[in-house]
Amino acid sequence: MITVRLFGMTKSLAGNQDSLSLALTNGRQVKDLVELLDAGYPMIGELIHKKKVLVSVNQEIAHEETEILDGDELALLPPFAGGTPW
């Protein structure tokens, strides 16, 4: 199981949970995580596809192919209060 920390609007979209626990079964890359989110939390998935929400791995912005290792710190980052970070 991996834990994904939620912030800002992603927290609201997941029913005010602080984090999600997900089982990566089909691969160990960020895109595999996004696939799981598409299925379980389609509104969050859509924001990721639109690049409005970024995925971070170990506090760095990740890409589709970024590998996810056991114990990695994952988070979903909506647009920052000060403006778009990218």
Binding site: Q59, A75, P79, A81, G83
Partner: protein, 145 residues
């Protein structure tokens, strides 16, 4: 004795004293001849809506890392002597302090330049989110110029 990072870069719930932070920077060096500050406060309107109060959410750890990175880059890229960067989180009342940048330099021009760069960069790369409470409900703020 706390490290420089812990002293000069802080993300905290409690309010801060602008005077105390200025004195912290001033105390760094007798070469400082100009101090520039940016203080961000909570306004009562946003995009035409009334705002009753604001809550800041932050990514503990990553937010501090990004602020430390901004301090290090400011010290390297500008001719300045010290920078303090503070940001509050949690519930913040209208008119209250949110964010403070204090830059000490030998001369004012570099202090102004570094201060403007630091607040712009903070807004661009720091994982902090703002929830505004309005009479119509709560809104996560996406952008602020």
């Amino acid at each position: 004795m706390p490290t420089d990072d812990a002293q000069f870069v802080r993300v905290q719930r409690e309010d801060f004293s602008v005077d105390a932070e200025i004195n912290l920077v001033r105390g760094r060096s007798k070469r400082i001849g100009g101090i520039s500050i940016f203080l961000g406060t909570a306004r009562d309107r946003s995009k035409g809506r009334e705002v009753v109060s604001i809550t800041f959410d932050h990514y503990e750890g990553m937010a501090q890392r990004k602020l430390r990175e901004i301090r290090e880059r400011a010290m390297k890229d500008f001719d300045i002597i010290e920078v303090a960067i503070l940001h509050r989180y949690g519930e913040i009342g209208i008119g209250d302090n949110i964010v403070l940048i204090v830059v000490g330099a030998e001369h004012r021009a570099e202090a102004f330049r570094a201060c403007q760069w630091a607040i712009d960069e903070l807004k661009r790369i720091t994982p902090i989110w703002k929830l505004e409470y309005t009479p119509e409900g709560e809104v996560w703020v996406e952008e602020h110029p």
